[in-house]
């Protein structure tokens, strides 16, 4: 599904912050991406999400060499990836329901065809009562769950989550982890970037550890 070969990344003329990355993300797999702050976790997620292009090496995503993709092909590939960012990136002028339904609107589905699906997911993540609320009045944890719901609503083949439990209390963190596990069981490959060891200890999974720009894999 994802293959990195000798991938390096630098910003501008600065030093290489990711070096010689070689790894594969198999379908239906679950892994934590960890490492100290500033180790390059977010940059690696951006490479996986095609927000950044590697300065060297080969990145192959769903069978496509990303260096050969044109913009519309990138958009098509992104439809197969869900991403949860640290700052949630919810649209403030849309309700929670509309934010979560956004991936369906982008692919042109009629509202009547996805309404139940979105409402069910919102209920499932505990936002059934908040579906008409605008993001500015949601709590940090509610925003986090709305962002996660938006990332998973279209059942992506690959889910990327950047510190998904960073803004929530431990109890909610455990619930969100269970949500990711459930999604993984239904066939989605999951990569959770976190430096929360307690969270990682709750589920036995492959660990990708970034240290000084290099990746170490613990199966």
């Amino acid at each position: 599904m994802v293959r990195f070969e000798n991938v390096g990344l630098r910003y501008g003329l600065g030093p290489e912050i990711l070096r010689d990355l070689n790894f594969v993300i198999p379908p239906h797999s679950f892994q934590f991406l960890t490492g100290p702050s500033g180790a390059g976790k977010t940059s690696l997620l951006k490479l996986l999400f095609l927000s950044l292009r590697p300065t060297r090496g080969l990145v192959n995503l769903f069978g496509s060499d990303v260096s050969l993709l044109v913009k519309d092909e990138v958009a098509d590939l992104r439809k197969r990836i869900g991403i949860v960012l640290q700052d949630f990136r919810l649209l403030d002028h849309m309700t929670t329901y509309e934010n979560v339904a956004l991936p369906f609107r982008v692919i042109g589905r009629e509202e009547s065809t996805y309404r139940k699906e979105v409402i069910d997911l919102l209920k499932w993540v505990g936002l059934g009562e908040r579906m008409d609320a605008l993001p500015p009045i949601l709590s940090g944890g509610e925003k986090q769950r709305a962002a996660i719901a938006r990332a998973v609503i279209s059942r992506p083949q690959l889910l990327l989550a950047d510190e998904p439990t960073g803004n929530v209390d431990p109890t909610l963190g455990r619930r969100l982890l269970r949500l990711f596990i459930e999604l993984n069981k239904s066939g989605t490959a999951v990569i959770i970037a976190t430096h929360d060891i307690t969270l990682m200890d709750q589920y036995e999974a492959r660990r990708l550890v970034l240290h000084q720009g290099r990746l170490h894999i613990y199966e």
Partner: protein, 319 residues
Amino acid sequence: MNNPEPLVDLAQERPQVPAQARNLSPIVPRASIAGRALVAVVAIMTFLASITTGAVLLVSASAAEWQSDVASEITVQVRPQNGRDLERDVAAVTDAMRKQIGIIDVKPFTKDESAGLLEPWLGSGLSLDDLPVPRVIVARLQPGTAPDLTALRGRVVQVAPSASVDDHRAWIERMRTMSNATVAAGVGILALVIIATIISVSFATRGAMAANRPIVEVLHFVGAADGWIANRFFRHFLLLGLEGGLIGGGGAMLFFGFSESIAGWFSGTPVGDQFTALLGTFSLRPSGYLVVAAQAVVIAAITAWASRRTLFATLDEIE
């Protein structure tokens, strides 16, 4: 590592809400686009462009009318000369002209009519016997024919050596130059107005895109292609352009619609009379209104095109 807790349905902790149809918010919030300012800019530009076009149409129509009137006439001046009878010369020239093929009507101006022509400059009660005033003979030409002017001149000079034939060519040339210059100036102003519209719209689009950059980034995250995003913005700008075009074009049409009445208020004044002499009744023909309406649509389309072009250029910069 611990095994995960069994998955629970989090919804059990919250009241259930039935699924129901919703009115979805627009992807791009209307308030985030400086709509009123843009509508005003497009309306003003369209109004100016329409007034320019209307004025050009009026001037060129009047000039064409003048030219056709003047081109269908030949004027002969018979100057008084010592030893010659002016009346007899006028009669001989009139006769000679009537024989010319292509001339359908010849009208010699009488002594009184000539005095009437000079009245605005010399006052009434003028006796032409005291002045060496030439006499004028006007001949109307058959439309579509070009009489042999050289032969006519020869014949006229033969019967009246002091006569001169004027086919108004120099005057027509000047009229043509003036009307061409007016049309060129109008086209130049139109081009400037359109360029100013494109620049204004591009700035407005860029501003709207900058204000909505977080929305564009999120849309990219959920897999929206640039074309899809551009279309969401494009609809706004097309509607704004149409609204501005309608207001500006409609205003210009009203202006021309009422201009005939306004011109009536000034009739009888020296300025009003000169204006009427130059531009007629200052009313646009129906085809003129169609041109103004088409122009408003074109400006709306240019607004949309400029916005779309800027949208794609800006989307390329936003990852």
